[in-house]
Amino acid sequence: MTGENYHRLNGEWMTPRRRFLSALYGGRVDKVPAMTLSSVITLEAMEIADAAFPEAHLDAEKMARLAATAHENLGLDTIMPVFHSQLEADALDAATWWGTKDNWPAVSDHVLTDPDDFKVPSDYLERRSFKAVLGAIRLLRKRYPDVGIVGKVYGAWSVGFHMVGIENFLIDTILDPDKIHRYLEALLPASLASAHAQLEAGADAIMWCDHANRELVSPETYRDFLLEMHQEIQAEIGGPSILHCCGETTDRIEYFAEAGWDCFHFESQVDPVKAKEIARDRLSLFGNINNPTTLFSGTYEDCYEACMTVLNSGVQGVAPEGSVPLGTKMEVLAALADSARDYSNAHRPGGRFVAHDPPAANGDG
């Protein structure tokens, strides 16, 4: 790296993209990345970008502009344009309510009652939800070559919730487990196709969401229905993989590590110290700033303090635990990047996250 480039990066020797990817694999970084993995879109961001929900869900240009506020206005190392969770389900004909400016989209009707009836449509990746997301990723890749672009996929389990209905799906894990296995096998190609398409469009990594958290199911349910499938798909996703699972997951992080995920994006119900103890160096950890209390209702200082606490636990990156409420203030979210910067500076040089001294500004380094 030349001195000139070093100055271009404002005293940092990694681009946000490189920093994000290195942290994802538990590697060297110049500072801890602060990221969006789920949505950090707020009503304020919609005003700034002149791109609002619900139009931004189905318009690539608006989606890209809105997503970019994560980097442009919050200083985050990543951009994640898949704000909603309907990407796959909408393209598979589940009815979608696209929400309003201040409300999130949701699946409004479930369409699947028998796994044998399911087939991925031939024009799956050309459908409206994919057109917007893949278009947005292409635009973002072109506009932000140095920023990490995160794709988001709902795995077969979570697409199953959307297609079958969560209640019916969960009941059959008890009454007809074979049917659930068949659902998962049938739906998996749709999730993998989504991952491949987003990576091909320019995403650097895929966040794979399968919601098998303690608030819903036992760790044994994850083991019995998903562990083997997740192990098998690691080679098939085609890029760096981040698992996201909502809620309390401490009792299944061991399984997530066994599954071979590169990274786990975890929520605030999980104690980061405990998570780190279980994950060790087998699984990087990104998380887990609380949405309702810290980000939505809290102050900049609350967020800053929460970030410092999670960074002190040794996780590889800091991020909100999940999609932030739309009324969250951007001045509070600004503490994510500020805390990561200050934490890293406090540990420079030779700190845990800083493997190299910055090169000399005159270009000798």
Binding site: W97, G99, T100, N103, W104, A106, V107, S108, I166, E167, L170, I171, T173, I174, L175, R214, E215, L216, V217, S218, T221, C246, G247, N291, P292, T293, F296, S297, E321, G322, S323, V324, P325, L326, G327
Partner: protein, 250 residues
């Protein structure tokens, strides 16, 4: 003191022995099942095991044998669901198991509800329940509703994606004084506050009691949005509704 051995049904005995830890809960359940007839214990056991067909059959048989509908509901269905609720709270079972038991309870209640309605049994209160706007998740809300109905409440179910205006209209139409709001998503939790605000704006805030719940909801968040109480699960929801309905009456 009543002994565990006084319970005829082996499944019920094993459930109490294996899964109940709090002394007061052990005592209450041993007492409850000891005085319940073997037929009621069998209904409770089938419900705990999630066997809807057996619950359906045993409930119909008990009614045909002249057992009062209220006795079947209290000593069979609700008693069994009480054990399931405790196991859920303690992490021995998870949502799928609770849903399967809930389905069994529903099979039994299908026989009981028309009889109770026809006999004019007075509800202990009326509750409006809904998942807040933008949120289409209803498992938790539906479990609460089932337990509330089992607990003697009349419930008006507004379903999912319920706007503040819909909550307001339901209160005006029904004169219910208890309003339960559920949210599964951290993105939709703020809509609880919006609903409370809408009641303030309409000048109705002091006429209702708000209960909140849902996986990401905490007691602190409930307090922050101006709710009157928080329930961690369906059992807690019923306890809270009973507590608040006393205030309503007072």
């Amino acid at each position: 003191m009543v002994q565990l051995s006084g319970i005829a049904n082996a499944t019920i005995r094993a459930e109490i022995e294996e899964f109940l830890e709090r002394p007061e809960e052990i005592e209450r359940n041993v007492e409850l099942f000891s005085r319940a007839s073997p037929a009621m214990q069998d209904i409770a056991a089938a419900l705990i095991e999630g066997d809807a067909q057996t619950v359906d059959r045993l409930t119909a048989e008990a009614l045909a044998d002249g057992v009062h509908a209220l006795e079947i509901m209290d000593d069979g269905l609700i008693a069994g669901m009480g054990i399931v609720g405790i196991k859920f709270r303690e992490g021995y079972v998870f949502v799928p198991e609770v849903l399967v038991s809930a389905r069994a309870m529903k099979a039994g209640m299908a026989h009981i509800e028309p009889i109770l309605a026809a006999s004019g049994v007075e509800p202990i209160g009326k509750v409006i329940m809904g998942t807040v706007q933008g949120d289409l998740h209803d498992i938790g809300k539906n479990l609460c509703i089932m337990m509330l109905r089992g607990g003697g409440f009349t419930v008006i179910d507004l379903g999912v994606n319920t706007s503040p205006d819909e909550f307001l209209a339901a209160v005006k139409d029904s004169e219910a004084r208890l309003v339960g709001m559920s949210a599964l998503l951290t993105t939709t939790m703020p809509n609880m506050a919006r609903t409370v605000e809408a009641f303030k704006d309409a000048g109705l805030r002091d006429q209702v009691w708000f209960m909140v719940g849902g996986a990401p909801v905490t007691p602190e968040f409930g307090e922050e949005v101006g709710a009157d109480g928080y329930g961690k699960d369906a059992l807690a929801c019923v306890a809270l509704a009973k507590q608040l309905s006393l205030r309503v009456r007072g």
